[in-house]
Symmetry: C2
Subunit: 269 residues, 2 copies
């Protein structure tokens, strides 16, 4: 595993870079894939972004993100679905096969009602995703991010996905969000054939913050080699995205972050 063939640079890890900066950096550093964010794509212009990545030969491992299905009114829910359809178009234009879904939260006390809205939202976009050849990856978020996702465990993501064909709907496993789960390894095996992405970072101790707390692989307590082995053993052989939201890392020069990222990927993933 001592190479970077499966490494993908999720561009959120160097937040200051434009989409072009991120793609050029992958070329410079020999990183074969990039994970893109819709706000960066919008700033670059969708057509220009599509041309840029096609010409570069850098693969787009995924587009972040669709989802956000729960909302207070039907019209808001329809808007969110419309927005997801546009995200599917964007994914197709960018040449990635995967749209990551962060399913959303209102927030309110009725978790089950919101979880039903998530399932209904995915049902509403699934036919269009199928038509466009885009797979939808449900990403459970850590239970501390209750204001962002009512889908909080891998089991739950898997159970929602199971309502749909594995050709269209699966899960994205981000180690930061699921590492603690006592049922993690059984659940990874249970998602066999549904794993559409694998994200890595690390969990520092103590955790400084709820939102921007994840850190570089090797600087925390997640057993990444074991989780990677389990994900590999469950049949996933696609890109492994490094996705880190961390103010300190955002303050470092991007090229230095990428050097560290490559080295840590080889050593710790």
């Amino acid at each position: 595993m001592d190479d970077i063939k499966r490494l993908s640079f999720n561009q959120a890890t160097v937040n200051s870079w434009s989409l072009e900066d991120a793609v050029r950096a992958c070329e410079r550093h020999g990183i074969p894939a990039v994970g893109l964010w819709r706000d960066k794509v919008e700033r670059a212009g969708l057509s220009a972004a599509g041309r840029l990545v096609r010409d570069s030969g850098i693969a787009v491992s995924s587009l972040c993100r669709g989802g956000g299905f729960p909302a207070a009114t039907l019209s808001e829910r329809k808007e969110r679905i419309e927005n997801n359809l546009r995200a599917i178009d964007e994914a197709a234009e960018l040449g990635t096969g995967i749209l990551v879904l962060v399913c959303g939260a209102m927030p309110g006390r009725d978790l089950e009602g919101q979880r039903a809205m998530v399932a209904e939202g995915i049902a509403a976009i699934e036919p269009y995703a199928r038509l466009c050849g885009i797979r939808l990856g449900i990403e459970p978020l850590h239970p501390m991010l209750a204001d962002r996702s009512v889908v909080m465990t891998l089991k739950q993501a898997r159970e929602i996905a199971a309502n749909f064909s594995p050709e269209v709907v699966g899960v994205v496993i981000d180690a930061f969000h699921v590492w603690y789960d006592p049922d993690l390894y059984a659940e990874i095996e249970n998602t066999r054939g549904r794993i559409l992405g694998f994200h890595v970072s690390d969990w520092p101790v103590p955790l400084p913050d709820v939102l921007l707390s994840r850190t570089m692989m090797g600087d925390g307590i997640i057993d990444l080699p074991r989780i990677r082995s389990a994900v590999d053993a469950a049949g996933y052989d696609g890109p492994i995205e490094v996705e880190i939201f961390n103010k300190e890392i955002w303050g470092q020069p991007g090229d230095q972050v990428l050097e560290t990222m490559k080295q840590r990927f080889i050593e710790y993933v």
Copy 2:
């Protein structure tokens, strides 16, 4: 449910008060039970604390806390076990039947190894607890508190408890730690006969902090009435502790906190 017969004031909610302050406040406010902390008991002196609560007629719903079993060396692990035996003595002296276990974390990458240390630690103290008539309540902590507990879900707490007699080892359900769990209601039913305590507070949105973020019932998104109904339906009819660690609430006059607590308990639990 519109009374406070089952309300217990966990003294951590008003951090500035001594044990005597807390007991006197329960008398003043007509609160029938109090949850005590070992550091406060130590400051009051164990015998004096025991006399104080016996004379007051206020019930001691639980003592916080034992646990902390994972450690790097065998000698440290033995020290932790010794410390738990002392906590059992203290619980007996204070006239409570329940010692809450916050099971601990090292921290390190090997979660399963640490979880085995937790099970071994409980096995080491269980006979003494039985002898003293003290029940041990395993409290799973929210998965964001990975530096404090490798026991993070109710299912996991239940599975550890299942190795022991329900007369001695059970679980403590704190709504703040488990409310998000998609399997919560099934798991509460599964713990029937093992529920040794029920704690309430609320989950504000957005969550300001990892450690001191819980808030007063009604100021967050936890469906407390539903969780309480499920806990009641699973046969638990003991005290319901309000346990809140929150700097803002700690800054308020204690009597005001207790007034709010009573009102919110009646309205939201």
